[in-house]
Symmetry: C2
Subunit: 265 residues, 2 copies
């Protein structure tokens, strides 16, 4: 975080390309911060209209039809569609940014002022997002644009980070590990419990505490369990219990081997 004093550009009018969770949550946060959302543009016209109503914004029929007077064009579309969505935009003087973890800055280089505005968080429709401690990872075509983005981000969060495209990819991959893959483990547990007439709700305090622990401790210090204490008896009981669950079995073996190896390095 660099102290932001007075960038030459203050972003006030934002247009959003996309109508999914990132578009919705950032749009709401912009509105709360006193910005104006000018227009929404999305291939899903129905979603675009609903979001535009929420954000008191207009709807553009296509990217080519968008108003060209916004200070910021925020491309909040799936990673695979960033390039295409950008190529559909008219040439604008405003800053054009994408919100993707895995897409380099230079896909936007045909715009004179471009950047990346990547919130390191997962967003869910209908679930309020507190952005105030979410890291925003910024990158830009030049110093002036970077300062403008940093000033904007600092209205949403206390965690403003200047991150290169290469670093952002590393963060994004790490996010897949801790978010998507942990959630997959939750899902496997839910199914396993359900088959045995047990309620996933019983695991919720444990899930909270597992995540809560690493707010204070490093994951290495926080590790417990059969693999970490070398309890071969429990591991072998578990493997037997998973005889009819090849997916969980395979993950269990691999995870336990890795944890055990790490504990004996």
């Amino acid at each position: 975080m660099t102290a932001i004093i007075k960038p030459d550009t203050i972003i006030q009018k934002v247009s959003i390309i996309g109508s999914g969770n990132v578009a919705g949550h950032l749009g709401q946060a912009f509105l709360r911060s006193g910005l104006e959302v000018v227009e929404i543009c999305s291939p899903n016209q129905e979603h675009a209209r609903v979001l535009a109503d929420d954000l008191h914004a207009g709807v553009a029929r296509s990217a080519g039809d968008m108003r060209t007077d916004a200070d910021l064009y925020l491309l909040a579309v799936p990673d695979a569609r960033v390039g295409t969505a950008a190529s559909g935009l008219p040439m604008v003087e405003g800053i054009v940014v994408h919100t993707s973890g895995n897409t380099p800055l230079d896909v936007l280089e045909r715009f004179p002022r471009h950047g990346v505005f990547y919130p390191l968080q997962t967003f869910t429709r209908g679930r309020a997002a507190d952005l105030s401690s979410v890291p925003f990872c910024l990158e830009a075509s030049d110093r002036e644009v970077l300062e403008a983005l940093a000033e904007l981000a600092s209205r949403l969060t206390s965690e403003v980070h200047f991150i290169t495209s290469a670093q952002r990819k590393i963060l994004h991959l790490s996010a897949v590990l801790v978010n998507n893959f942990s959630n997959h483990l939750y899902h496997l547990a839910e199914e396993f419990l359900k088959e045995n007439q047990l309620d996933f709700g019983m695991l919720r305090p444990l899930i909270s505490e597992t995540a809560g622990k690493v707010l204070d401790l490093s994951p290495e210090e926080a590790q417990t369990g059969p693999a970490s204490r070398g309890d071969a008896g429990t591991i072998s009981t578990h493997l037997e219990m998973l005889h009819d669950h090849p997916d969980i079995l395979e993950l269990y073996k691999l995870m336990s081997e890795q944890i055990s190896k790490q504990n004996h390095e």
Copy 2:
């Protein structure tokens, strides 16, 4: 949860075998609930003394030397040591319970009144544990013992569950998935970030939100990310980035295959 009116036995005096995290956290919770901790017995004499001081309790030199007038003998030792620890106890009239997820009730059957008192939570030294919503999984030799344990548990938590040994094993295995294995993913991410001069702290809001989401949503609804949306481009970029990280690579492949399969079932 069954409404507990007036069990015939009210547990008031507890002796604890073990001096680790479970012993410490439950001992503290007993004390806060107005129980008396009579004695601590542990092969680690130094730990036993520290814990006994904390809990205003005495120290027994060995299990065979323990006072026989406690209402409850709580075996809070590693799973693999429950049987041995139990066999060292004198024959007592009080209730003898273990706190293990993976150990059947019947290892305690030489005691006329025995049971299981299993908190479905992870405990860390030096980290305060709020037990009030932690599920306590109870099982007992007979109805009177079960009622006494339920009355005791209800002083610690609002979540009292009567759970068979077979169900408890299922819960324990599920706990390994969501706790130890999620924590292993956090650990892998921490190392990967560190190698790239990035701070694990940046992932903390995401880790909290990932766990927070499944307090409201099912993990199936909460899933996002490249594998879940079939984004082959991002997956293949990630696999390339993991060329020098065989452990993460192998987990990444397996997890992504499973998530992708589940999304197309």
